[in-house]
C-alpha cells in the first residue's frame, strides 16, 4: 500500500510542481507596482541580464550568419540559385534560428546566474531575513529579474538577427563577391513583415517569459545547500532548453 502511494506521489510531483510554478507566476504578476523603485530595480537587472549578455549574443549571431551563408551558397549553387542566399538565411533566422538560438544562449548565460544568485540568497538566509523585515522577496528579488528577462530576450534576438545578417553580408558579399543590391531586394520582396518578422518577435517574447520564469522559480525553490543550488542551476538549463524547443514546435504549428 505504501509502495503504490509513493509511486502515485512520484507521478503527481511534476504536475504539482508546475502548478506551484504557475501560482508563483501569479504572485509575481500581482506584485507589479508601477513606481520608481521597482522601475529602477528592473533597469538594473536589465543591465545585468540583458546588456551583459550582449557580447556573447553578438559574436554567436555573427558566426551563425556566416556559417548559414556558407552552407546555403554551397547548396544553392548546384541549382544556379545562389542569388536566393539572403532570402534563405534571413527567413530561417527570423522564423526559427534567431529566437531559438538566442533563447538557448540566454538560458545558459543569464538563466543560470539568476538561479544561482537567488539560490545562494536562500542558502544564506537573506530571503528569510527579508520576510522578517516585512519585505516581499517575490516583489523585490523575483519580479525584477523576471521582467528584465522578458524585456531583454526580444531585444537580444533582434541584435542576434542583425549581427547574423551582417555576418551573411560579410561572407556573401565580401568573400563570395555577390551583388549587394540583389541581397537586399530579395529580402524586401520575400520577407513578410507579419508572418516572418512579428512571428519571430512573438516567439522570443514567449521564450523570454519561459526562461526567466523557470530560472527565478528554480532559484526560489532551491534546497538551501550548496548541492541544492547546483542541482537547481542544472535543472534551469535542462528544463529551459527542452521547453524552448517544445514551445517552438507548438507555437510554429499553431500560429503559422
Amino acid at each position: 500500500m505504501a509502495v503504490s502511494e509513493s509511486y502515485i506521489s512520484k507521478l503527481t510531483a511534476p504536475v504539482a510542481q508546475s502548478g506551484q510554478c504557475l501560482l508563483f507566476l501569479f504572485r509575481m504578476i500581482s506584485s507589479i507596482r508601477f513606481n520608481a523603485s521597482q522601475l529602477r530595480a528592473v533597469l538594473q537587472q536589465t543591465y545585468l541580464i540583458g546588456a551583459r549578455s550582449l557580447v556573447i549574443i553578438m559574436i554567436c549571431g555573427f558566426f551563425v550568419g556566416m556559417v548559414l551563408s556558407l552552407q546555403a551558397i554551397n547548396a544553392l549553387e548546384q541549382f544556379g540559385a545562389s542569388d536566393q542566399v539572403s532570402l534563405l538565411v534571413v527567413k530561417s533566422l527570423f522564423r526559427e534560428l534567431g529566437p531559438v538560438l538566442t533563447a538557448l544562449l540566454f538560458a545558459g548565460r543569464a538563466g543560470t546566474s539568476v538561479t544561482a544568485e537567488i539560490g545562494l540568497m536562500k542558502a544564506t538566509n537573506q530571503i528569510e531575513a527579508m520576510e522578517l523585515m516585512a519585505i516581499d522577496p517575490i516583489q523585490v528579488i523575483a519580479l525584477p529579474r523576471f521582467l528584465a528577462g522578458l524585456i531583454s530576450l526580444p531585444l537580444l534576438t533582434a541584435m542576434f538577427n542583425a549581427l547574423a545578417i551582417l555576418g551573411s553580408i560579410v561572407f556573401a558579399i565580401g568573400v563570395m563577391d555577390m551583388d549587394s543590391g540583389i541581397f537586399w531586394s530579395k529580402l524586401q520582396n520575400g520577407i513578410y513583415f507579419y508572418k516572418d518578422f512579428i512571428g519571430g518577435i512573438w516567439k522570443s517574447l514567449v521564450f523570454g517569459g519561459l526562461v526567466s520564469l523557470i530560472a527565478v522559480y528554480f532559484g526560489y525553490t532551491a534546497k538551501p545547500t550548496g548541492a541544492g543550488v547546483g542541482t537547481a542551476t542544472t535543472n534551469t538549463v535542462v528544463l529551459s532548453s527542452v521547453l524552448i524547443l517544445v514551445f517552438d514546435f507548438i507555437m510554429t504549428s499553431f500560429f503559422t
Binding site: 543591465y47 540583458g50 527570423f94 531583454s152 537580444l156 524586401q188 513578410y192
Partner: protein, 157 residues
C-alpha cells in the same frame, strides 16, 4: 548623481540599441514599407485562369510596379477568376482599353499582372473593369500540347 547611475545608463543604452536593431530589421530586411502607399484606386479584370497568382502580387506596367493584387475571387456564374487590384493614385492616366495578362517573372518566378496600355482617350477610374485579358500560361498544358502535336505530326499523311 545616484551611485548606480552608470548601470542605469548602460541598461538604457542596451534598450535603445535593441529597439534600434528591431526597427532596422523591420525597415531594411522585410517587406514593411515596400507597399504602394495608402492612396490607391481599385480596378478589376476577369481571367479564365490565373494559375498561382497570389494576393499582394505586383501589378506592373513596362516592368515597373504600379500596384498590387488586392483579392482574387471566383465568379460563381461565369466560373472566371475576378482579380481586384489596387493601383497607386499617381498612376491615374491609364487608358480604359488597357490589356491585362498574367505573366511569370523568370522561368520559375512568381506570377504578376502586366498591364499593356492602349490608346483610348478616357482613363480607368475607381471600380472600372479591364476587358482585354490574357490568362496565365500553364507550363503543363503547353508541354501537353507540344507532345500531342509532335505525336500527330509523325503520322504518315
Amino acid at each position: 548623481m545616484r551611485p548606480n547611475y552608470k548601470v542605469e545608463l548602460a541598461s538604457g543604452i542596451f534598450l535603445l540599441l535593441g529597439i534600434a536593431a528591431l526597427v532596422w530589421l523591420a525597415m531594411r530586411a522585410t517587406d514593411y514599407g515596400q507597399g504602394i502607399g495608402k492612396d490607391t484606386y481599385q480596378i478589376s479584370a476577369r481571367f479564365t485562369n490565373v494559375a498561382d497568382l497570389r494576393v499582394k502580387a505586383p501589378v506592373k506596367i513596362g516592368g515597373v510596379t504600379v500596384g498590387m493584387v488586392d483579392s482574387i475571387v471566383l465568379d460563381p456564374v461565369m466560373f472566371e477568376a475576378v482579380v481586384n487590384m489596387n493601383i497607386a493614385s499617381r498612376f491615374n492616366e491609364i487608358p480604359s482599353d488597357t490589356g491585362a495578362s498574367v505573366l511569370t517573372s523568370g522561368v520559375l518566378g512568381d506570377r504578376y499582372i502586366n498591364l499593356e496600355p492602349g490608346g483610348a482617350p478616357d482613363m480607368l477610374v475607381d471600380g472600372d473593369e479591364i476587358f482585354i485579358t490574357q490568362s496565365a500560361l500553364i507550363l503543363e498544358q503547353v508541354i501537353g500540347k507540344y507532345l500531342f502535336n509532335a505525336g500527330s505530326s509523325e503520322k504518315p499523311q
